[in-house]
Symmetry: C2
Amino acid sequence: MLVRVSTADTPAGAQNRAGRRKARTRAALIGAAQRFLADGGRTEVSIQEITDAADVGFGSFYNHFDSKAALFDAAITDALAVHAQLIQRATAHLTDPAEVFAASVRLTVRLRQTHPQMARILLHTGLSHLTDAEGMPASALRDLRVAAEAERFEIGDPYVALACVGGSVLGLLRILQARPGMDAEAANDQLAESLLRMFGVPADEAGRIARRPLPAIG
Amino acid sequence: MLVRVSTADTPAGAQNRAGRRKARTRAALIGAAQRFLADGGRTEVSIQEITDAADVGFGSFYNHFDSKAALFDAAITDALAVHAQLIQRATAHLTDPAEVFAASVRLTVRLRQTHPQMARILLHTGLSHLTDAEGMPASALRDLRVAAEAERFEIGDPYVALACVGGSVLGLLRILQARPGMDAEAANDQLAESLLRMFGVPADEAGRIARRPLPAIG
């Protein structure tokens, strides 16, 4: 929730206004970069095209970022952080670590419907950011470790498990894009079931957990 | 094996020479494009940079390709076809479809050592080409179907299985690049074992198959 602060024309008020304007410009630049990332991973655009798309002055770019690469990094980090928050909020009421995991995977693939821009950013940048220390990959790694510590999963080296989970989700996002006739919900449930089986959950239980009603996301 | 044909200066000989020169130029362009692809997926280079790297005249480019995108497509298709041939040749003597599958996965991850340029091309382009009708993804899909028909694997929708296999391999290639301290051989074996378990092979058998001596590749 945004908290409205006084905008009385005192030095402090002016400072607040300047700070808010600066934050708005930064957010507009990140939003524009995210639209280019979602559009086929278009990072070869010029800074002029980015500031035009963000509707901010060309000169303001370097008040916020040292380079185009720094902006795109910030845009991806932001998308992965928002993704992690969305999933964590949607699964916070679940207690079984296997169900938290399965719901996280299924909600991520379902971003295609609920948050299409974020799904496209994941598809174009997710593989390069699979070992990021923050955001969704780090959150998936934590979930895997929690499930292993609770003796729900046998995961071996957690980074190999992360490679399987992250890679499989990106692989399915790509295949659903290339084969629009596929039953995406059935494919999504099969993916979650397959990963649960990979981590040692018995087949019948894996099938049930992967088909439980999904919590809402938003 | 290349077969040397007569180069006597007859019209047919001249035609053969011209044909060979044309093939050499095409191969040089594809080779240059593959080096750019392996170098971080650098497809934003100019045609001039490509012809310089290929050591061919700028003008010859359009004798072979309509656009830069057409060259890069051909370069990726060529790499995926060579990859499929390498793996098929190395696994041709194996009879158990589960072992063919596991050896193919492990040899692919091991391309990092045996064929580093090809591994980098896979990493940068493999996700986009996961549903190609030819080359390595198509070959993996065939192997999965053979194993399912032989009742060695339960794969469900073959395209979901392909998403898991292709995505997991790319995920591990990425994580091994980002975490050079990891034991790559152990991680590779665990990946193959995990995928076998995912497809219903009992855990103890999956562990054995994933650690059999690997055939040579080359």
